[in-house]
Symmetry: C2
Subunit: 305 residues, 2 copies
């Protein structure tokens, strides 16, 4: 199943994001160099898995998203935004394009790596999604690392929350990864702390299969970042897949049509990979933390154009 | 916007379901006549709204789903199944095809009418989905009727749960409605108690916009019932909409392709209406509680073929 017949076609490919947003260069200290270094470190972890014969896209996605969850600068895992009540409620989802198996958690307060908890839901339960206290009860029994909720707090996010308490905030951020392995299998995953100062219980698009995450070997893998409510309304990830499968569009055409013509302006971005290893990063915000690599030697991170 | 130019094209249309399932005629007492009477009562409530000049499809959907939630025989509102812990956790979603506005609640334990709570989320918050304790906290502040959790219990569902405690259960059931009003606006809604003996926190397809519910004036309104995890994996409602919008399929072609060729056998069913007032009921289970009416005088309920 390797693409040995076509030297221009990669054997494997990976793309990650750590959020699309309307941030300016001025807002990021040092031109975002530390952020790009964190993206590169996560990217290389995924690359190492995909370079090995046994590496699967599903594991690459999980490992990359875990690395981004561990990084305190991105809104997922440690460094997640605060809810209105001053806590952290985390969402994540993961999907296997080979089987369409998927798992998701919403509003977990205790899983250090929500993406791993989502994979456990996929692999250890007959369900797709667990939310709230039920997700945390499952976490306690499923051998994932548990942490006190304060583990997710950082001084930067606390200040953001304190500012937001006196005004409304539309701060969002997400991390995600899509990978294609040597066996032709696609996988996708997304993880987030949600919206700054969000109402307890609010669920955005990241844990919604078909909105923030989708993977199907027939079509593509997708992970989204942006105004979650808009991505749910437009079922962005599922509609991109359906436009490829049933509408004859390419991954790029589908993503551009949906984000440019259907969603509101500056609503967010998506990353994706198709079965031929074509990599997509498309966003309508001012920037998107992102990076990609493949078996032809590509290895790059970017924030703006 | 009325279809006055084409006498065969209905001005308004409505379709409802109270669950697709693999039940036999033997399992239903009295050939399901009481169930069909309940469907007819709900259907007539929706018809009354759509017959009036001011009636909207969104209100028709809400009122019909409320009537089905009130009926103790269907798995939504009163008569919902029991969770593993012996409680009731209810899910619902609603969507306005004119604006793509939508609202959803997962795992509410206190809202007498989860569909109304979902509409409140849509209309009174910037969010799409609230889950668990956060949904219940919102319910308490949003002037919906609150009930003790035991309100939802019925002896029949308690026996089902007690039986399921000693074995696994795949009992499912859902209610839903899709409507087209005189102004050409589509709306859809779905409500459920979920799976008998389900793990606390489990979220099925009913509150997932794009899986169990979708509405878009360009394409169709959809409400699904079946094995929720399969409907999430295949993003059924969103993919049907995308197949119409981007793949040139009719509503019927899209639903048949997805349910017959993509989903596992006997996974469930969908109801839908397209902008011309064509009504769809398609299921791969043995039966589906359903009914429909339109401005040309059609008015019917069915359980089997």
């Amino acid at each position: 199943m390797e693409n040995v017949g076509d030297p221009s076609r990669p054997n494997w490919a990976i793309v990650l994001h750590a959020g699309a947003g309307n941030f300016s260069r001025d807002q990021l200290q040092e031109s975002g160099e530390p952020h790009r270094a964190a993206l590169m470190m996560a990217l290389k972890r995924g690359r190492r898995i995909l370079q090995s014969e046994q590496g699967t896209s599903l594991t690459a996605v999980e490992i990359v998203v875990r690395a981004l969850e561990d990084c305190p600068w991105f809104n997922a895992g440690r460094g997640s935004v605060f809810t209105h009540e001053g806590l952290h409620e985390l969402d994540a989802s993961i999907m296997d394009g080979r089987t369409l198996a998927c798992g998701a958690v919403a509003n977990t307060r205790v899983a250090q790596h929500p993406i791993t908890l989502a994979r456990r839901v996929m692999e250890q339960t007959p369900h797709v999604m667990l939310a709230g206290a039920g997700a945390d009860a499952f976490a306690a029994g499923s051998r994932v690392r548990l942490v006190p909720n304060s583990y997710f707090s950082t001084p930067y996010r606390r200040r953001q929350w304190e500012d937001a308490l006196s005004s409304t905030s539309d701060k969002f951020g997400t991390v995600g990864c899509v990978a294609l392995d040597r066996h032709g299998n696609l996988a996708a995953g997304t993880s987030t702390g949600g919206l700054t100062n969000k109402r307890p219980g609010r669920v955005g698009d990241s844990p919604i299969i078909g909105a923030g995450t989708y993977a199907n070997n027939r079509t593509c893998g997708i992970s989204a970042s942006g105004i979650g409510e808009q991505f749910i309304r437009h079922a962005v990830a599922a509609q991109i897949s359906a436009m490829i499968e049933f509408g004859g569009r390419s991954l790029h055409q589908a993503a551009h049509l949906l984000l440019d013509k259907r969603l509101p302006q500056r609503a967010g971005g998506v990353i994706g990979i198709d079965p031929r290893g074509n990599i997509l990063c498309h966003y309508t915000t001012s920037g998107m933390y992102r990076g990609w690599a493949d078996s032809t030697g590509r290895l790059q991170t970017k924030i703006w154009d």
